[in-house]
Symmetry: C2
Amino acid sequence: MKNKEEVLGDLREDIDRVDKQLVDLLVKRKQLVAEVGQVKNKHGLPVYLPEREAALLQARRSEAEKRGLSPDLMEDLLRRIMRESYHAEEKVGFKSTHPKAGPIVVIGGAGGMGRLFVRMFNLSGYETRVLEKDDWSQAEHLLAGASLVLVSVPIHLTPEVVLRLKGLIVADVVLADVTSTKTEPLAAMLQVHEGPVIGLHPMFGPSKAGFAKQVVVYCEGRYQDRCAWLLDQIQLWGANLLSSNPTEHDHMMSIIQALRHFETFVYGCHLHAENVDLETVLHFSSPIYRLELGMVGRLFAQDPDLYADIIFSSKEGLALASRYHQRFGEAVALLQQGDVERFSQQFLEVQAWFGDLGPRFLKESSFMLEKVTEKYGERGKREKTAT
Amino acid sequence: MKNKEEVLGDLREDIDRVDKQLVDLLVKRKQLVAEVGQVKNKHGLPVYLPEREAALLQARRSEAEKRGLSPDLMEDLLRRIMRESYHAEEKVGFKSTHPKAGPIVVIGGAGGMGRLFVRMFNLSGYETRVLEKDDWSQAEHLLAGASLVLVSVPIHLTPEVVLRLKGLIVADVVLADVTSTKTEPLAAMLQVHEGPVIGLHPMFGPSKAGFAKQVVVYCEGRYQDRCAWLLDQIQLWGANLLSSNPTEHDHMMSIIQALRHFETFVYGCHLHAENVDLETVLHFSSPIYRLELGMVGRLFAQDPDLYADIIFSSKEGLALASRYHQRFGEAVALLQQGDVERFSQQFLEVQAWFGDLGPRFLKESSFMLEKVTEKYGERGKREKTAT
């Protein structure tokens, strides 16, 4: 009869063996997916089919369930594995949607978002050129023969940079920008250029993950049909395209970007002013608070100019922030009066207004909180922070 | 020579085969982990060893890297697989750290957190009894022979519920609570009971995931050595224990819970007052905003009483909210004046104050944002929301 250490030792060896087989399978799957990508690319087939991915996930869920395995586990693992394969796609490169295109000139191509576009266009077989702030003396040369001029500079500089293009680009060039506001840049582009114009706004920060599953908003400017290849190209990179108009877009961004970043800024200033001990707070944190602290720390780990640009460039941002400030004051008064009843009444009104989205957000956020715990929680630790 | 459809068909069949083998491996791994759990449980060994988990993850990362696979991919997959095994542990049950204990009485045992404790104690072989608000006529009977009385009722009711125990519990019973504040409940328990007293605060909502990797704060009351089995039990369930004192705890909670929930409440009210179209916002959302919207919707999908209780019970909450309101007003003034310079200066001060935690939070939040995109993003979609 084996003793408990031997039994455990055997079991652990078995687990090690299973994990090695897991690595083998992942390597094999990666190779197969890469082969699929190559075949598709060679024949100009779309690399990604949303319906096929959804059908595959559903099939795998059912199989897992039949075998007594959690379908959610299976789906989570496959989504993670699939994400990895987007990087593999990049190595193969992307099909060009405009093989006869001339060079693509990215103004501000040395910045974060500019570099990402340069990389993606290169991966898709285009010739790219970067026009940075010190290159304007050679602008004519750099812009010669271009099929697309893409402006990727800070918001407050976009109109003046666009105006510098006056007389430098010919009528058949597509002029586009990637600014976080759309009204002014689009107006400037339409003013300076008589050819095709389109405004873009990638709703994500430049990272190694690229465009896959990210939203890119676009606003039509002029001659939409002649910009189609550009949108097709971005879609081929895996992005979701969302059509909007400059007014709607800028209104949405005042909420999604300007006010939200402003609030996060104030919250960080508040923690600083209260001189909160961040390490201690982290020890006490629930998963929700850890996530929120992560978002605050994230903002302050980046460039102030980036956020100043977004916050101060929003036309509606100030009015929105003022109204938020007033509502905050009203809620503080309610707290001061100890008016639990009014609080609950207001709570229920907002709950009703959220409608079906409330339970949906509860489910989504639960998934995220489980991820926080899975990734950053330890188990069975004992600590003392009290001083 | 095969045509492209045949080649693709063959490759897809290969991928299907790999995925089936993946299911096989996961089923096998699950069985092995369950066996390890049984052997450990039988011999009273700790089910979970943080060092072994960390070593295993590190070893698997290296193996993945050697095979040209992303180490992060391997770690993410294994963490997700391990999370699943916590549920498997529950089926086996937990070792009892106090096998001779009498019944455990949970006051408010029908509520969310109360039910979770009842379930965990049952899984660990204890007899449990629930004392709900209509059961006080039988309190003497229910409390007879108890080894632990655990108070799990709303914050504002805790002191009065504790005071009702006067004369009903004998000196050797452990008296504990799970309230989100600690000063008043602990004072009430020490006043009403001359035996061992301990205050607990589980920093998470009751969910199917249980205690694994979650934080439970505890504040010593009296006769700590006689409460040790209870802490050991909670640790065995996989929780991280954090020792604190009531003053520190309540101060931390005014920031982590009261102010944060209050802010989320105001933000939801603000969205409602602005009559923002939530579905449209969701279409435009970056991963960050989707996460934040999820947190707001989460609050409003729950019970107003729960949040009113936390927000209105915090002694420091009001002053903290008032100071936040004032600082928000100052920042609005800065925005009004268009003072980008002062904004950037303040930003850099907070950045310096965050120190090393900033880049760490940036990394943590990037992980979370990738998860949001992986789970909720689609690829290559085209939509129009503009009206």
